[in-house]
Each structure stands twice: as structure tokens, then as C-alpha cells.
């Protein structure tokens, strides 16, 4: 049994009644808006890129300009104007139903809290490559790393950050590799290991690294945690959602992928009488 019982000790809540205690900063009217010890108007505006400030707000650290530029470019890779993509389709449906652009975009963003795609799987992606690196540094081979992961999924190559639905291969990786090279961002040990895993997977299962795997490896090389990556990519897909909204808001309502009654495949019970109460 635990002896750490603090029944009805409300001191922590009493300490915070009527007072905001901020570990990040705040607005002192007439003086400055402080952010992690900096004055935003004096130290940030015109001196840092917007992405540097976004990353500071998400992680508490200001990245180098070139790394923030790389992160900004990764957002372009996730801003497709294609409403077949699940989160984007929510934006398109919002336009079709005449919601506001904010509501539609926010709804599409929220869909990214998904086990399947978008931002949230980056947590598993970063955790995987870091675990793989631990195993590798402890003497496991790339083959062992893959086998260990496959063993968790009945032998199937379900490695977070490798393979993807709809298509095989990922055109976003060479695009970002080009940006990485132009920005002179080195290929680190996690990225190298990721490529080795990808190559072996290709040989063994015909699958390879996806965008999640690339991002997870590069962020791991720059000492970001999985939770930090998740936080700084909060709005990763928003622009594609907005684009799809803008397309449908300009067309007559409910004309996005119109559905007649018989376009739904009803498989339930046939009409039946309602029992008396």
C-alpha cells in the first residue's frame, strides 16, 4: 500500500487560486511582451523567422534559422490541395456545407490526432528510430532491429516511418533531401540508420522509408523528443485543408462528391413495425 496519501491537502490548488503563474512569459502592459526571457517586439520581430518563434513556443528552444527553414519546407510537403486525403476532405466538406474557414480548417487539423496518418504518428516514428538506435548501439544489426519490430506484428513489416498506404515510395523525401543539402544540414546517425533500415526493408519486403521516417530521423539527430515534434507540428496539414475548403466554398452547396440516397449501401434491418411502449 502506498503511504503517500495526502487526503484533502489542497495546497497546490490554493497556491494557484486567482493567480496565473507562467513559465513561458506574458504581456506586461506598457513594458513588453516577454517570451522565455526575450522581448518579442525587440528581440523577435524582424529578427527571427515565424517558424523559429513557432518552434520556441512549442519546445522552449529557439532553433537555428536554417533548421527552422528546413522545418518550414516540411510543411509544404504536407499541404496538398487534394481533398481525397482524409483531413483535407473535412475541409472540402466544410466548404460544401458553408462552415467558416476557421471551423473547417480546425476540424481538418483535429482529424490529425489519428493513429493512422498525419502528426500524431510522428510520436511513434521518433520513438521507433530512437529505440532502433539504442538497439543498434548495443550491438544489434539492422536486420535484428527489423526482426524485433516485425515480431511485434506477427512478422509483418509494420515499422512506424516505413511503408505507407495508397502508394509505395515517397516523393517528399528526395524533395526534402535537396532542401537539407542546400541548407547544409548534415545527415546524422539516426538518418543514416533510417536509410539502412529502409534499404534492408526494400530488399526483404519491397517497402521503404516514408516521410514520417525521414522527419523522425532528422528530428532525432537534432535532439528533439517525440512529444516536442508532435507539438511543433500542430498545424502541419492546415494549409491543404484550407485549400480544399476554398475550392468547395466557391461552388454550390453540397456539390462536393454529391450523394444520392442510393449511393449509400444500407445493410441493416428492413423496415419493421415499432413495438408498443
Amino acid at each position: 500500500m502506498s503511504s503517500n496519501i495526502k487526503s484533502n491537502d489542497t495546497s497546490i490548488w490554493d497556491h494557484n487560486r486567482g493567480v496565473i503563474r507562467s513559465n513561458i512569459g506574458g504581456w506586461i502592459i506598457g513594458e513588453a511582451v516577454y517570451n522565455h526571457g526575450y522581448s518579442m517586439m525587440d528581440d523577435f520581430v524582424g529578427k527571427l523567422s515565424y517558424m523559429q518563434v513557432i518552434m520556441l513556443n512549442a519546445t522552449g528552444r529557439i532553433p537555428s534559422r536554417k533548421f527552422a527553414d528546413w522545418v518550414e519546407a516540411t510543411h509544404i510537403c504536407m499541404s496538398w490541395p487534394d481533398p481525397r486525403i482524409w483531413c483535407n476532405q473535412i475541409g472540402a466538406l466544410g466548404g460544401s456545407n458553408r462552415t467558416s474557414v476557421l471551423a473547417a480548417t480546425t476540424a481538418g487539423l483535429l482529424a490529425n490526432d489519428s493513429r493512422q496518418y498525419g502528426t500524431k504518428p510522428l510520436i511513434a516514428g521518433v520513438n521507433f528510430i530512437k529505440l532502433a538506435m539504442e538497439q543498434y548501439e548495443s550491438g544489434s544489426t539492422v536486420e535484428d532491429v527489423i526482426d524485433n519490430e516485425c515480431a511485434k506484428h506477427a512478422g509483418k513489416p509494420y515499422l512506424m516511418g516505413y511503408a505507407r498506404p495508397i502508394a509505395k515510395g515517397d516523393a517528399r523525401i528526395p524533395a526534402m533531401e535537396r532542401v537539407q543539402e542546400e541548407l547544409d544540414i548534415e545527415v546524422g546517425v539516426h538518418q543514416k540508420l533510417g536509410y539502412d533500415i529502409s534499404e534492408r526493408l526494400e530488399q526483404k519486403f519491397g517497402e521503404n522509408m516514408n516521410f514520417n521516417g525521414y522527419l523522425s530521423a532528422v528530428f532525432s539527430d537534432h535532439s528533439y523528443t517525440a512529444e516536442e515534434v508532435y507539438r511543433l507540428y500542430t498545424v502541419l496539414v492546415f494549409s491543404g485543408v484550407t485549400a480544399c475548403y476554398v475550392d468547395t466554398i466557391q461552388k454550390p452547396a453540397e456539390t462536393f462528391l454529391s450523394l444520392r440516397c442510393d449511393d449509400i449501401d444500407y445493410q441493416g434491418k428492413l423496415p419493421r413495425p415499432l413495438p408498443e411502449d
Partner: protein
């Protein structure tokens, strides 16, 4: 850099041609196949349901595929009343109030408030794990499950300890409201094994300053009623929506000064490099 080709190739995945549902049938109007002439929920005509059944009955029907018995409907309705308002201090209600007093477009009030109500602390995110916890353990002795958790889990250094999803302390005490909800619900003919097991578990935790949380009550009743754990979060949100909305609307006609804006002396920047 990547040693091999990244050339994209289509996979041969087979997607459905149509969305399938067993819940709702829309019969087209003879004049316009986009218009619905009749709607049936699990086989029952919607107009007939309007005439003869309660909202609670149809809510149950939607999720379970059959109408509830009187006892099941009573249990569900009493739970809905218990959960109808998280109260003016709950973070979700405060978010709703902020939207209200801030003159946010009113159609956004519920999405805002319910997003916050989706949290993992007394929020909708707890319901599915709580239902799975109860399902997994309800055939075991509640005292043994509590003892095992108390001996293996460690409380947080600060704040509340939720030793299992749906159970724990609130403000470092035992929350009396869910305990009262449990007693009222247990007195109903529709109360089931999950609710009874949860109450035994809460009693086993009591010497350690923990008990039922609202989330546990909801999870236990949903389990007894046979709802899917994946429906749990949304049902919990649905039931709180009326209270969240009411608090927002109450403030929406008032000036922005109707809610506190802490003074500078009450705003403490504790940032340390």
C-alpha cells in the same frame, strides 16, 4: 541520400465503391433521388419514433441497434442527467464561457468546449480506457485489483492520483458527487455488473483517499448498457453539451468584463533561463 529509388507507385488497394451502414436507411423521394422521402433507424420509421419513443430510446437504438428495455432506458436517462453539466469550474465549461463572453460565433461554442472536454483528466479521453479497464477486471475481486494497483503504481508527486482510468482522487479528496451518482444508479433495476464492480473497486480505494470519478461512472454504465468503448468518449461529450452550452450562452450577452482578467500583480512570470 536515400540509396534507392523514391519513385512513387500506386498500390493496388481496393476501396469501397460506396459507404455502407447498418444504422440509417434513407428512401429517396420519387421526384428527386437526392431527397429523403422516409428515414429508418435500424428498421424503425423516424416519424413513428418521434410519435412514440423518447429521445433516450432513440439514442440507445442508434448505438445498440435495438430499442432499450424500460430499465435500460431509465439507467441511461439518469446517467445523462448526472452528466448534463460539468459545472462552472470545469476547464471545458470555462472554455465555453470564454467563447461566450468573447463573442465567438455561437456555432463554435460546442466544438470549442467539447474539445477541451476531450481531455485525459476528468474528460472524454478517459472513457474508452475506463471501459476497457472495467471489462478486463470485473470478473476479478475488486479488492485484489485495488491492492495490486496500490502496491505497484506510484502517485504523482503533485496533484491528483488517478490509479486507474475513471477512478482516483479529485483535488486530493474523494469526490462526493460521483459517489452519490453511483448510489442512485445502483438503486435502479437496470444497474449491472460493471456498476456494481466499480462501486466495490471505489470502496477498496477509499482508505487511500480515492474513489469514483465521473468518467468511471459513465464508463461503468456504458459497459452495462453494452455500448462500444469507441462510442464512450462521444457519448460522454454528448451528455455534457447542454450544460456547456448553457454556461456559454449565459455569458454571451454580457460585456467582456463579466469574466476575470487577472491583474498584473496576479500574473507571475516564473520563467528561468
Amino acid at each position: 541520400m536515400l540509396g534507392h529509388s523514391n519513385k512513387e507507385e500506386k498500390r493496388d488497394e481496393q476501396f469501397s465503391e460506396k459507404v455502407a451502414t447498418k444504422i440509417w436507411r434513407e428512401t429517396p423521394s420519387p421526384e428527386n433521388s437526392y431527397l429523403t422521402q422516409e428515414a429508418h433507424c435500424h428498421g424503425y420509421d423516424l416519424i413513428a419514433l418521434m410519435q412514440k419513443r423518447s429521445f433516450v430510446d432513440v439514442l440507445y437504438l442508434l448505438h445498440r441497434g435495438e430499442l432499450p428495455s424500460k430499465n435500460e432506458a431509465e439507467l441511461l436517462e439518469k446517467l445523462m442527467i448526472a452528466l448534463i453539466n460539468p459545472g462552472p469550474r470545469h476547464p471545458a465549461t470555462r472554455a465555453a464561457m470564454n467563447a461566450g463572453v468573447g463573442k465567438t460565433d455561437t456555432q463554435h461554442i460546442l466544438p470549442i468546449a467539447l474539445s477541451i472536454y476531450g481531455g485525459e483528466h476528468i474528460g472524454a479521453a478517459v472513457i474508452e480506457p475506463a471501459m476497457r479497464f472495467i471489462r478486463k477486471n470485473r470478473r476479478k475481486a475488486a479488492q485484489e485489483v485495488a491492492d495490486a494497483l496500490l502496491s505497484s503504481a506510484k502517485p504523482a508527486e503533485e496533484g491528483d492520483w488517478h490509479i486507474a482510468p475513471g477512478f482516483g482522487s479529485r483535488y486530493n479528496g474523494i469526490d462526493p458527487m460521483p459517489a452519490q451518482f453511483a448510489q442512485k444508479l445502483l438503486s435502479l433495476a437496470g444497474a449491472g455488473d460493471a456498476l456494481r464492480w466499480g462501486d466495490e473497486f471505489a470502496q477498496a480505494l477509499a482508505p487511500n483517499g480515492m474513489g469514483w470519478l465521473n468518467t468511471g461512472i459513465a464508463a461503468a454504465v456504458f459497459t452495462d448498457l453494452g455500448f462500444s468503448p469507441r462510442a464512450g468518449a462521444g457519448l460522454f461529450q454528448t451528455f455534457a453539451a447542454p450544460g456547456l452550452l448553457a454556461h456559454a450562452v449565459e455569458l454571451s450577452g454580457k460585456p467582456i468584463t463579466a469574466m476575470p482578467f487577472p491583474k498584473d500583480e496576479d500574473y507571475v512570470i516564473e520563467y528561468q533561463k
